[in-house]
Amino acid sequence: MFKKSVFLVLLVLPFVACDKNDDDQAQQNTPVSVGFLHSFYENTVVSSNFNTIQYTNGFGTSLSITRLRYLISQVSFTNQDGIKTLVKDYHLVDLSQDNSLTINDVLLPPGAYNLKMRFGFTEASNTSSVYPDLNAASWNVPENLGGGYHYMQLEGRWLDPGDTPDEPYLYAYHTISAVQNPGPENTREDTSIEIDLGEITVTQGATQINVNMHIDQWFENPNLWNLSELNGLLMGNYTAQKMMQENGQNVFSLASNMGD
C-alpha cells in the first residue's frame, strides 16, 4: 500500500508541475489536418464510385477508375518569417484506405503559411528499398526500370467507341522517375513535381486544409492523352513519363481552408 501511495504522489506531481507549460503550448500550437480530395471535372471521386465507366477525359474517351494510389512527400508549411516546418517526409494516399486520405499529426502556431508538397520523391529521396512501409505496400520500382518507388498508380478501364462496348480495355497509368535504356544500364531522371499550394491560414482551434487532385488533368493538359495509344507498359516509356510529368503540373490545388 505504501508503494502505491508513493506511486500516486509521483503521478500527481508532473501534472501540477507541467500545468503552465501545457497551457502555453496549447496557445502556441493548434492541430492542422491536411485532407486529400479527388475529382474528375465536376465529379467527386471516392472509392465507392470506382469501377463504373462514368468519366470522359479530354480526349473524349469514357473511362472508369479501379485504383488510385499516389505518393506525396516533403509536406511543409513556411511562415511569413520564412521559417519552414517539414510536417511529413512522405505519405502514401490510397483511395481504398480511408485513413490514408488525411495527414492528421500536424501541430502549428496559428498564422499565415505557404503550403508546399511534392508529388513523388525527389531524386535524392527516391532510394530503392529504404522505406519499409512502402516496400510492404509493393510500391517499389524494379531496378531495371530505375529503382526507387512509384509516384502514382492510376488504373481502370476505358471504352473504344468503335469497338465492342461490352469488353472495355484496360489502362495502368503508372508514374515513376523517367528512365532511359531500361535494363541494367538505365539512367533515371527525376519527374517528381513540386506542388505550391499558396497561402493558407492556420487559426486557433482545429484547421482543416483540403488538397484536391484534378484527375482529369492527367489526361489533358498540355498533352491530350490517347488511351488507345498509351494505356499500359508505361513505366519504361521515357516519353510517356515526361508527358505525365507535364500533365501533372496543374493537377493539384487547394480545395478549401476552413478554421473551426
Binding site: K4, F7, L8, L11, V12, F15, D19, F50, N51, T52, T66, R67, S128, S129, P132, D133, N135, A136, A137, S138, N140, P142, E143, N144, L145, E155, G156, R157, E167, Y169, L170, Y171, A172, N231, G232, L233, M235, G236
Partner: protein
C-alpha cells in the same frame, strides 16, 4: 483543473481495483515473446503487427501450437488445423481440395499460412472474409465441410482435459476455456510461422548466388513487358512476395466462385481473390484459389497465353487482349527457376512448428 482532479481520482480507483485482481491472478505471469524477425525482413519490412490484446507469450504460443495439432477441435476428433496446413507442404495442402471430417471436399485450395504476422491489411482467406487472424481461426471449426463442430462442444471437450486447463491458466490466467481464448492461442502460434530462409533470401543477404537461369527468371519477373509479376507478388524489396491485396487475374470469363465479391456483395469485386505468397511454391502445389493448376508450368502458361477477359479483370492484366505476356519457352524456364528460389526448405523441419502432442 477540475478535469485533472477527476482524472487522478479515476487513476486512484483503477489502482485500487487492480489491487484485488492482482491477488486473484497470483501465479499468472506468462513470458512475453517477440517474433524472431529474419534479417531480410528487419531490413526491408515494418515490424509485424501484433494486436495489443493478444501479445505473444511463451505460454500462449505453446498452447496455440498444441491446439493447431489438436484433432479434438473437430466433431469426431479426426481433423486438426494441421490436417490442411501441413508444415512439409508450406503450411498448405497438396490436395486440390482438403477433405473435411465427413469425407466432403471443400471448394478452394488450402491457403499457405506463413508470414501472416506481416499481413498488414488484416484481410484473411482467399475471399477476405475474416478481418483478423483471431477471427479467421474460428470459422474452420464450425464449417460444415471442414471440422463440423460447435464452439460450445470444443470448449467442453477441452475443459475436460486437465492438460488444457493448466495450459490455458498459464497462458491467459484463467482455467475457463472459451472460443475467444482458443482463437487467441492459435493466432499467437500462427504468427510465429515465419518463412525467410529460401535461396533467394540468402542471395539478398549476400550468402548465395543465383544461377544464370535464375537471374534471367528474376529479370522476367521484374520486367513490365514480360512477366510483370512484381505489381502483385512483391519483389526483392518486398520479401513477402505478395501485396496481400485482391485481384482478378484472368482465370475465368464467368465465375462459379465470386471470391471477395461473395463477401462484399459488390459486383465490381466478383472473381477477386487474395494474392498468395510466392514463397514455398515447391511445396504448395496445386495453385490458384481453386487449385486448378497442378504444376508451376501451367501457372506460367496461364499468364503467358491463357488470360481471359471478364468485367472485373484487374487492369494490371494489361495483355489480356493478346491472351497474356507471350513468354518464350526460354523465358518460361527461367521464370520457373527463379520462382523455385523462393522456397524455404527449412520450414518443413523447423522444430518449433512440429506437433507437440
Amino acid at each position: 483543473m477540475i478535469q485533472k482532479i477527476l482524472f487522478i481520482f479515476c487513476l486512484l480507483c483503477i489502482a485500487i481495483s487492480c489491487g484485488e485482481d492482482d491477488n486473484q491472478n497470483q501465479g499468472y505471469s506468462p513470458t512475453p515473446v517477440n517474433i524472431a524477425i529474419p534479417a531480410i525482413f528487419s531490413q526491408l519490412l515494418p515490424p509485424p503487427e501484433i494486436p495489443a490484446n493478444n501479445q505473444l507469450t511463451q505460454e500462449g504460443i505453446a498452447l496455440g501450437r498444441a491446439l493447431f495439432y489438436e484433432k479434438k477441435l473437430s466433431a469426431d476428433n479426426t481433423l486438426a488445423c494441421a490436417g490442411c496446413h501441413k508444415p512439409n507442404q508450406g503450411f498448405s495442402d497438396q490436395r486440390r481440395y482438403s477433405i473435411g471430417i465427413d469425407g466432403i471436399a471443400g471448394f478452394r485450395n488450402s491457403m499457405p499460412i506463413v508470414n501472416i504476422a506481416w499481413n498488414t491489411n488484416n484481410k484473411f482467406n482467399w475471399d477476405g472474409s475474416a478481418n483478423s487472424l483471431e477471427e479467421q481461426v474460428l470459422e474452420p471449426v464450425v464449417n460444415e465441410i471442414e471440422m463440423h463442430n460447435t464452439w460450445p462442444n470444443v470448449e467442453q471437450t477441452l475443459q475436460t482435459d486437465p492438460r488444457y486447463v493448466t495450459a490455458f491458466s498459464n497462458a491467459f490466467g484463467t482455467s475457463t476455456i472459451s472460443q475467444e481464448l482458443v482463437a487467441k492461442a492459435l493466432a499467437q502460434f500462427i504468427r510465429t510461422l515465419v518463412s525467410a530462409d529460401a535461396k533467394f533470401d540468402n542471395y539478398l543477404l549476400g550468402q548465395a548466388t543465383l544461377t544464370p537461369l535464375e537471374e534471367q527468371g528474376l529479370a522476367v519477373f521484374l520486367d513490365e513487358n514480360r512477366g510483370d509479376c512484381f505489381h502483385c507478388h512483391g519483389s526483392p524489396s518486398n520479401p513477402l512476395w505478395t501485396d496481400n491485396d485482391f485481384h482478378n487475374n484472368g482465370l475465368d470469363e464467368n465465375f462459379t466462385d465470386l471470391g471477395l465479391g461473395d463477401i462484399t456483395g459488390d459486383p465490381a469485386q466478383f472473381g477477386l481473390f487474395k494474392s498468395p505468397t510466392l514463397r514455398n511454391l515447391a511445396y504448395t502445389a496445386p495453385y490458384m484459389h481453386d487449385g486448378r493448376f497442378q504444376t508451376l508450368d501451367q501457372v506460367i502458361d496461364h499468364y503467358s497465353e491463357g488470360l481471359v477477359f471478364s468485367p472485373t479483370i484487374d487492369p494490371l492484366m494489361k495483355t489480356v487482349a493478346q491472351g497474356g505476356v507471350q513468354l518464350t519457352p526460354q523465358e518460361k524456364a527461367a521464370l520457373k527457376a527463379f520462382l523455385l528460389t523462393l522456397s524455404d526448405p527449412s520450414l518443413a523441419n523447423n522444430s518449433a512448428y512440429q506437433n507437440p502432442n
